[in-house]
Symmetry: C2
Subunit: 117 residues, 2 copies
Amino acid sequence: MKSVQPPLCPMEALLRVITGPWTIYILWVLSEQGPQRFGALKRLVPGISTRVLTERLRMLEHAGVVWREQAMTIPPAVTYGLTERGAELRGVLDKLGSIARRWEAEGAFVGTASAAE
Amino acid sequence: MKSVQPPLCPMEALLRVITGPWTIYILWVLSEQGPQRFGALKRLVPGISTRVLTERLRMLEHAGVVWREQAMTIPPAVTYGLTERGAELRGVLDKLGSIARRWEAEGAFVGTASAAE
DNA sequence: GAAAGTAGGCACTTAAAAGTAACTAGATTA
DNA sequence: TAATCTAGTTACTTTTAAGTGCCTACTTTC
C-alpha cells in the first residue's frame, strides 16, 4: 500500500528535488564558492552527514542540476559543480530568496518553526 | 539532543512553508478556483486527510499566505483564500512551474521519484 | 611498518511526518 | 427520534527520512 500523493504537478517533482533539509544550502554553496570537492563541500555545509550529502548530490546530479567529475587518481578526487540547469534554478531561487528575506523582516516566520531555539 | 539543521537562510524558512506533500497543491487550488470552504477544499485536493489539510492551512495562515474567515453560524462555515502574500508567492511559483514543465519535457525527473512507476 | 587521507557504502537506530479512525457540538432535516 | 452536516480535534499507528558509526582500497608520508 502506497501513500496517495498529489500526482499531477511536475512542480511537485521539482520541489522534491530542491527541498529536503540541506539541498538549497548545498546549491547555494556551489553557486557562491564555485565547484567543490566532496570533502570541501562537507566542510562548507557544517553539520551534514556524509550519507545525506552523498544522497543529495546523487539526486541533484540525476536531475541534471549538478555535475560530477571523478578523477581516477588513487586517493580519488571527485568534484561537484552547478550545471546550466543549476544556474537557471538559482535565478528563481534568488527571487524566492528576496521574498523570503522581506517576509522575514515582516515577521512572517515567527512561529512557523525553525525560529530561534 | 536536537538535529543540527542549517540555521541561516530565511529561505529555508520559506521553503519549509511551501513544501510538504500537499501544500503547493492547496495553494494552486486556492489560486485557480478562488476562496474555498474547508470541505470544498478537501474535495478539491483528493486524497488529503483532514488532519494534514488543517495543519497546512494553519501554517499557511500563520505565515500570512492564506486568510481564514469563520462564520459563527451553527454548522460553522470557514472559508480560506489567498492573501496578497499568497498571490506574490504564486508569481514566483509560476516561474518555478514553467521551469519544472520544461525540465520534465527534457526528462529531468525520470528516476527522481514520483515518476510513473 | 603504521598512520592518514579520499569518497563514499552499509547496517542500525532514532526522530519526525503523515495516515487512519473515532469523536465533538448544535441545528436542521427526514 | 435519529441521522446529517460542518470543521475540526485527539489518540494511535505506520512510513519515511535522517543521523551515527564502522569499513573499504590504495598511495603517500612519517
